[in-house]
């Protein structure tokens, strides 16, 4: 770093004012004290993170203590869990300034690491869940293979072989959905273009008529009354709608019906998939969009669900600037609504 040129009093004052403003723009809290331990500078984020409002002096005390340790000549680092006024976690790092014997001051850097902590916990849970989800079909394959070995009854062999196939399919579906999800989360989705929602619906329900009929479930698709063009990644939107239709069929009882329709609400298209199936208990409704969250594990196993379908739907909706919501009454059925912004020309036209 080059040496600062000699400054006169005014220049020094201007530079100081400039520096104070500059450190206010940092997104990290910054607290500087002189060699006597008196705080001489506290930038805006530090005032935000470390203030004594609501009687919470803990953060301020911790920063003062850290500065004290740094003034004694040593780097100091600590993580502080606070529960008031809201639950959050601060990371405080303090360094001596201007040589260590004795330091001429100290600086404390304060970061709010709450979100980081939360994401770490989410990732840990995800890895634990994922291992479990993959171990289940693998364990099944291992057990079934040994059962098949030496089995002579052709009926039993046929049944076990079908089970092996189903477990292998489940395993590969989980992997497929995971890859889809990570591609969507990474934002590697390409650009959005204008797509007719009716074409998306047609493509999404294609292939479901037969399995629905086989289970005695009516699949009724109402074409939108108006042309509804949305800005979308066609492939992902089709997969989101297909996921909703697939679920609706899986969670319907024979004799029930699944209805798909689309409509326009302001500057958004709203696509509904309604079933008359088992419904979702209220306590689970918030969580069904989480990865691997299942209301009924046994049912999910029988129907070959991966536990990732609704997470994919939510992510697709989100990156389209849309949303997905559920309205369900246990024993009566569920309605999933997918909101997607209309293409510009679309909502200008009336």
């Amino acid at each position: 770093m080059g040496r600062q040129p000699e400054l006169n009093g005014n220049e020094a004052r201007d530079l100081l004012a400039l520096l104070v403003q500059a450190v206010d723009k940092a997104n990290q809290g910054l607290v500087v004290c002189n060699k006597k331990g008196r705080v001489v500078l506290r930038n805006a984020p530090a005032r935000e993170l470390v203030n004594a409002r609501d009687g919470d002096f803990l953060a301020e005390k911790a920063v003062e203590a850290a500065l004290g340790r740094a003034l004694a000549g040593a780097y100091h680092e600590e993580t502080l869990d606070l529960y008031s006024p809201t639950r959050h976690t601060l990371k405080i790092r303090a360094y001596p300034l201007g040589g260590s014997n004795p330091p001429s001051g100290a600086i404390a850097l304060v970061d709010d690491v709450s979100e980081l902590r939360r994401l770490e916990a989410v990732r840990r849970d995800f890895v634990a869940n994922l291992s479990h989800e993959l171990k289940t079909p693998l364990g099944a394959l291992s057990l079934l293979a040994e059962t098949l070995d030496g089995e002579e009854d052709p009926d039993v062999v046929a049944r076990l072989t079908a089970r092996v196939g189903a477990e292998a399919t489940r395993f590969s579906r989980i992997v497929d959905d995971l890859l889809d999800l990570s591609r969507i989360e990474a934002g590697a989705t390409g650009s959005l273009s204008e797509v007719a929602l009716s074409a998306v619906i047609d493509e999404a329900v294609e292939g479901f008529q037969e399995p629905a009929a086989a289970r005695g479930i009516r699949l009724e698709v109402a074409r939108p009354k108006h042309v509804l063009n949305v800005m979308a990644n066609r492939r992902d939107l089709v997969s989101a709608v297909a996921n909703l239709v697939d679920n609706a069929i899986k969670y319907s009882e024979p004799g029930g019906a699944v209805y798909v329709d689309a409509d326009r609400r302001g500057d958004r298209a709203c696509l509904r998939v309604r079933d008359e199936g088992v419904g979702i208990p209220r306590r689970d409704q918030e969580r069904i969009f989480e990865r691997f969250y299942r209301v009924d594990r046994a049912r999910s196993r029988w129907t070959g669900g991966t536990g990732l379908g609704l997470a994919i739907v939510r992510h697709v909706a989100a990156y389209h600037g849309g949303d997905v919501s559920v309205d369900s009454v246990e024993g009566e059925g569920s309605t999933f609504t997918l909101w997607v912004p209309l293409a510009k020309q679309e909502h200008a036209r009336d």
């Binding site: 479990h132 171990k135 289940t136 693998l138 364990g139 099944a140 291992s142 057990l143 079934l144 040994e146 059962t147 030496g150 089995e151 039993v156 049944r159 076990l160 089970r163 594990r297 046994a298 196993r301």
Partner: protein
């Protein structure tokens, strides 16, 4: 811990497998259709109802696979990475209140030739 109940698939080969153990403990073999070949949810319900008791159950490979996979998935019982179930092997399940917490595999005991 001696068994307090012995249950078996109604198939003759299962009943015969269970018979000596039942006799040794002065118990009757309880034949139960839920343990027949091809059963799944009925077998799982029966096993759940036995959680916390000392019962010995004899059934078929496909039913055992179904029970173990269900408990691994729903109760998060750890079966290990490559669970086995050779003919004549035993799985010891521990749990209570319809919920299982552990499973342990015992390979078949090879009978000494007479």
């Amino acid at each position: 811990m001696p068994p307090t109940r012995t249950l078996s698939s109604p198939y003759l080969r299962c009943l015969q497998t269970m018979e000596p153990l039942s006799r040794a403990h002065n118990l009757a073999v309880e034949a139960n259709d839920a343990l027949s070949e091809g059963q799944s949810s009925a077998a799982v319900s029966l096993i759940r109802s036995l959680a916390g008791t000392t019962a010995v159950v004899c059934t078929h490979g496909d039913v055992i696979a179904e029970i173990l996979v269900t408990l691994a998935d729903e109760d998060r019982v750890d079966l290990g990475l490559a669970p086995r179930q050779a003919k004549g092997s035993v799985w010891a399940l521990e749990g209570r209140d319809s919920f299982f917490t552990s499973a342990r595999y015992f390979p078949p005991v090879v009978a000494e030739s007479v």
